[in-house]
């Protein structure tokens, strides 16, 4: 409800589903004086709203157009099928004396009556053709007028995409939780045990027994604990990198350069990224490239690979080509499948061209912004 402030103009504003007091309140807040409020005629409102409803118009249109279609269809059935059947068996009718049905054409002999048989065939053929087209026409009308609109299709597709994105992030959070619990937490508990034991041994020194401290043992325990801490730090670093690689902060080009350098198979890097896509897209692109390069190194047996990253307005394309043995397929729980899922959550595309014997080209296309 947009009202001009302080204007001395008269507006007929239709405000539905708000009680009168609320309307007065809102108007007062905008600084407008209401000179009069008239409750609309409920029935009139209903009719008027029906007149404006696009779905209702489509239904009316459908039924309106269906009428001539039905009439045509009926004519087709009567003339074509019935007439056709009649003329097909005309000699029999003539013999029985019913030659006046459907216009007898003044046939006076049984022999001539056979001349009308092909007419029957033609009519049958025409009838079936007409019926088929009428039904097709009806189907076309239904799809066009009554079927889901492209916008509804789009909404459905978006809902699916969102559900996938939500599932994807929930699954990744669970993985992180498991990694933290089984990895880091277990390591820290083990560390606490070692240090606790070491502390006990050191405390023994001050006890009534005054036994000599087993320094060898304590040193070993503390040394083990130290090693454990370093390992835990390393694991956490890897985990964090799996969530968001710090190198991405410098930009996708830089991050891909590092990936290419680290690859076991020599990788030629070709990048053309003038403008940075959004963070989420960069992350997906980075992990896609990482996964694809890992696959090249592990499975393809290639001697050389190319990593292309091109960003044109609206589209980011990552392409990995290798001269290996090919035959790459997305396996049910494999990395490629997970990659495809992540790409789909942002409406991207994954294309795999990997004939047996190679070479393999995998292309990932992502929008610039999720």
């Amino acid at each position: 409800m947009t009202l001009l402030r302080g204007a001395q103009q008269k507006f007929n504003v239709r405000v539905r589903e708000l009680p009168q007091e609320k309307v007065a309140e809102l108007a007062a807040a905008e600084g407008i004086t209401i000179s009069g409020m008239r409750p609309e005629n409920a029935k009139l409102t209903w009719y008027v709203s029906r007149l404006g409803d696009p779905v209702a118009w489509r239904v009316r249109g459908y039924f309106g157009l269906k009428l001539p279609l039905v009439v045509t269809g009926l004519a087709g059935v009567v003339a074509g099928w019935l007439g056709g059947l009649f003329y097909l068996t005309y000699p029999a009718w003539w013999a029985l004396g019913f030659y006046w049905l459907f216009g007898g054409f003044g046939i006076r002999s049984l022999g001539l009556s056979f001349a009308l048989v092909p007419v029957g065939v033609a009519l049958l053929y025409a009838g079936s053709w007409l019926t088929h087209n009428v039904t097709e026409g009806d189907r076309w009308l239904m799809r066009g007028l009554l079927g889901p609109r492209t916008s509804e299709e789009r909404v459905r597709a978006l809902r699916e995409s969102r559900a996938r994105a939500v599932d994807d992030s929930a699954a990744r959070l669970r993985t992180i939780e498991r990694d933290l619990h089984d990895g880091t937490q277990a390591q820290l508990v083990a560390l606490a045990m070692k240090l606790g034991l070491a502390m006990e041994k050191l405390a023994d020194a001050g006890s009534v027994d005054a036994r000599p401290v087993d320094l060898v043992r304590v040193t070993q325990l503390v040394g083990d604990a130290h090693r454990g801490v370093l390992e835990a730090i390393g694991d956490l670093r890897t985990l964090a990198r799996g969530i968001h690689p710090p190198v991405l902060d410098k930009g996708l080009t830089e991050a891909l350069t590092v990936l290419a350098e680290r690859s076991a198979v020599p990788v030629e890097l070709v990048t053309d990224i003038q403008e940075r896509p959004s963070d989420a897209i960069e992350t997906i692109a980075y992990f896609s490239a990482a996964e694809l390069l890992t696959n090249v190194a592990k499975h393809s047996g290639a001697r050389h690979a190319t990593l292309e990253a091109v960003h044109v307005p609206g589209l980011l394309r990552i392409r990995v080509t290798d001269d290996g043995t090919g035959g790459a397929r997305p396996v049910a729980s494999g990395g490629l499948r997970g990659l495809a899922e992540r790409i789909r959550t942002v409406d991207g595309r994954l294309e795999i061209d990997s004939p047996h014997g190679g070479p393999t080209t995998v292309t990932v296309e992502l929008p610039s912004h999720a």
């Binding site: 083990a190 606490a192 045990m193 606790g196 034991l197 502390m199 454990g228």
Partner: protein, 214 residues
């Protein structure tokens, strides 16, 4: 004692082994899942078993169920169950056995070597052990806030220690009072909560647990 350890995280398994070996125990087997645990118990007939609640393959409560099964089949084996989170249901299931010699601790408690080895000693001696954190949680979450509010501070402490499975002498030592004072507090507590007096330490843990959980 001859001990079997069942824990799926290798580092913790190793740490437990180290601590217990240091205390002079003999670790006859260290396994990583419930199936292997049952097999190991059948094979080695240990004096004690330390079991993690959550283990492969399902990572739900197969450790606990194995522990309960072992308890039923071999009541002379002391059992200590570890849990990552406070699950009073597990505690109740485990403790609802006829006698003592059973315990439920949070995994963090392992990091405190003294408390951990003390718990093992108490269980081996036939006592019952319930993690203090579990008890605190139960007391806080109990619906009987009014009745619990009628307890004095001292009685509250005694109730908590009793729920942890400690004996009268242990409670007396912990609170620096005489054993007679502890006995008096306990009978007051039981009458205030409306519970019948218990004949064994284990029974009273069960009674308090049942009371707090309803």
């Amino acid at each position: 004692m001859r001990i079997i350890i069942a824990e799926d995280a290798a580092v913790i398994r190793a740490g437990l082994t180290e601590i217990l070996t240091d205390r002079g125990h003999d670790i006859v087997a260290a396994v990583g899942d419930a199936v292997a645990l049952r097999a190991a118990v059948a094979e080695h007939k240990p004096d004690f078993a330390i079991v993690d609640v959550r283990m492969p393959p399902d990572h739900t409560d197969e450790g606990l169920r194995a522990a309960i099964a072992i308890r039923r089949g071999n009541p002379e084996i002391g059992i200590l169950v570890f849990s990552q989170y406070v699950e009073t249901r597990y505690a109740a299931d485990l403790l609802s056995m006829r006698s003592g010699g059973v315990g439920y601790l949070l995994k963090d408690r392992v990091a405190n070597v003294a408390e951990f080895t003390d718990a093992i000693a108490r269980i081996a001696a036939g006592g019952t052990v319930l993690d203090p954190e579990v008890v605190t949680g139960l007391l806080a979450a109990s619906r009987h806030t009014d009745t619990l509010g009628t307890l004095t501070a001292r009685e509250h402490d005694v109730l908590a220690l009793m729920a942890e499975g400690r004996s009268n002498s242990a409670i007396a030592e912990h609170l620096h009072v005489s054993e007679r004072a502890v006995e008096k507090h306990i009978s007051n507590i039981f009458s205030k909560l409306g519970l019948p007096p218990s004949d064994s330490d284990h029974r009273r843990v069960l009674a308090v647990l049942a009371y707090l959980r309803t």
